[in-house]
């Protein structure tokens, strides 16, 4: 009996201070990119040519980067000769509208809290059903860790449940393979309305690297109305938690 007690003392209290304190993130983390189109040489397309998922377009207003397609890989940053595109450790990435994922000169619009009536329903108790529809187990793994003592999702009243009948919403990962299409739809139908849909990861938002393959549906966007987009490949657990808390209005939208 003594050994478990000694182990308990050794292992200490490990829950992170987020959201009350800023998160501790790796310095090399590739979070939200920063774009400075004024540095772009005339006619340069290096970043767009290097992007594996065609997330970058170059138009009249300069470079635009669709975070819904972005794999947060180092390729564009490395390809840019002028440092016009730079990956920053900024973890706040979740948005409420698909268009808001397209980075450009305009300010980035983070996710808005649910409107008051829905928030009253879900704000203090949100039960989610997760469905992996072709996900590689990266997004799934970093959703799973929210249940560890580090993130302790339960303290926010958010819980992943086994039955869609018990759920208030669906969290989808993966590009939605044709072979999961019907199971995903059936799960969605089994969630009683009003229901939320969260698309997590590049695959669930746009198909990610699988976009265009005939074996999949380019993500959950378009199959269901999506209430929260959390981009990444996979998004860092703090990014996911930040998104969920913003949706529930538990993080001040001004910060």
């Amino acid at each position: 009996m003594l050994k478990p007690l000694l182990a308990r003392v050794h292992q200490k209290y490990r829950t992170v201070g987020f959201p009350d304190q800023p998160p501790v993130l790796p310095d090399r983390m590739r979070g939200r990119p920063e774009i400075d189109s004024t540095k772009c040489p005339e006619g340069c397309r290096s970043c767009a040519d290097a992007c594996p998922t065609e997330a970058i377009t170059i138009g009249d207003k300069g470079v635009r980067l669709d975070l819904g397609r972005c794999l947060f890989c180092p390729e564009c940053e490395r390809a840019c000769p002028e440092g016009a595109i730079r990956m920053t450790p900024e973890h706040r990435l979740a948005v409420s509208r698909r268009e808001a994922l397209v980075l450009g000169p305009e300010p980035f619009q983070l996710a808005q809290a649910l409107e008051q009536k829905t928030r009253k329903l879900f704000g203090r108790s949100l039960k989610l059903r997760q469905v992996s529809a072709g996900g590689c187990n990266g997004c799934e793994a970093d959703v799973n860790v929210l249940n560890t003592v580090v993130f302790d999702l339960g303290r926010f009243g958010i819980q992943f449940v086994a039955s869609p009948r018990h759920a208030d919403g669906l969290l989808v990962t993966g590009p939605v393979t044709c072979n999961m299409d019907s199971a995903l739809r059936a799960t969605y139908e089994a969630v009683p309305p009003p229901r939320l849909v969260i698309a997590l990861g590049a695959c669930a938002i746009s198909g990610g690297p699988y976009a265009g393959h005939p074996e999949q549906r380019n993500g959950a966007d378009g199959l269901f109305p999506v209430d929260l987009y959390i981009p990444g490949c996979p998004p860092h657990p703090i990014t996911i938690l930040d998104g969920l808390l913003r949706l529930l209005g538990r993080i001040d939208s001004s910060c």
Partner: protein, 507 residues
Amino acid sequence: MKAAAPNALHNGEPVQLGDIPVPTITDFRERVLQACEGGSRIAALFGQPAADGNTRLFAVMASDVKGQLALWSAMVPDHYPALTPSCAQAQGFERELAEQWGVHPDGHPWLKPVRYHHSYREGHDAWGRSAKSPIQPGVTDFFAMGGDEVHEVAVGPVHAGIIEPGHFRFQCHGEQVYHLEIALGYQHRGVERALVGGPNKRTIPFMETLAGDTTVGHTLAYCEAVEALAGVDAPARAQALRAIALELERLANHTGDLGALADDVGYLPTASYCGRIRGDFLNLTALLCGNRFGRGLIRPGGALFDLEPARQSQMVERLAQARQDVTSAVELLWNSSSVRSRFENAGPVSRETALELGLVGLAARASGIERDVRAQFPSGLYRFAQIPVSSYHSGTVFARAYVRWMEIQRSLAFISDQLQALPHGPVRAEIGPLAPQHLVVSLTEGWRGEICHVATTDATGRFAHYKVVDPSFHNWMGLTLALRNQQISDFPLCNKSFNLSYCGHDL
């Protein structure tokens, strides 16, 4: 039979396609079966479309004793006599062959689809289905048991937890499982087909997400294949960093699995600690490259990130702390009689069964088989720095847990050694064009087991074919047999003790 010497080659040794002997299908079968009887196993068996409309079969046979691979090839029309009746480990490969290329292995005892997609060779379907008729996943025959009190339990594709999809059918009498049959394919994203014509911009993202928890293992296998075809060696420092990343991936997953196994038997202290410590290992990978899964780290020719001295000492420090934490957490398991009693007799796979099925990785080692790519087919740093093979004899859940713990300790020691003696120099070399009309087999030991990539190039040096064999492809059948005569309530425990990949299998 021709007297040609077996076409021997090593891990990462490119061969000209024209030099690979193409015996008749009868000779091919005989050679594969003889190799299996002689103790070799099938690392890969696949088809590639040939110009004349036939299919060219390739068999990569691995001899663990010799540390050598043998390659055989044959042309087949729409059918050939199946290997499976004489060699059980061919069963999944021959089903895949039937599904992808419409080549019927005559006499296959249970020829079912693997991933539920249309044939890649139009007009040739092993089940005679039309290209227009929709294919429903999991809709196929299943074994059924008769009897008054027999019942069937069907689970999935959507499971209770945050986990990938698959369909499981149990034939039970009361609590006792007589048979488990697993239908996969729900995660099929068409990766192999999309790799043809590469390498291109998407090749690396495909490799990094073949099985997301094995990003380093698969990307490393790919990069070593490409480097072999380009005739380039990654610099020594890059090889060291890549091996460190591979062992960090093993540490994170093994630690997480031990926590999950503890959770499945209701032993919450270890479950809770390991869940957290797994993250510490992932964060060490992120310290190196910014991503917890190692995405963005490994590229053909080396690595994109270096470990400068300050970062290196930070890694040494944090690794030492993680070693203390994981030791404290995991030793509780072996000191707890309630945990041991749940682990010790659950889900046994005998050594004979494991050999017959061609199991790989920790599942094979837990059944007493000394099988580890790092020791027997070493590539990269493992040619110079050895890790002892960890094995255990009983083949049970306990064995699979305990082998994980032994491997955790050895990976920790390995990384510590490497961090003290990192070679100097660059971390990336330039990669030129790939040799045309070549084939290369690239093996790495991912945390689940042997990852096998086979690339063939066309006349222009692009991929004519790219075969991926995730360790799960071999090992799913091990799980089904582990469940025989077990209580169905032990399924989660047995399943977690294998913790196989769905997307790595479904591709």
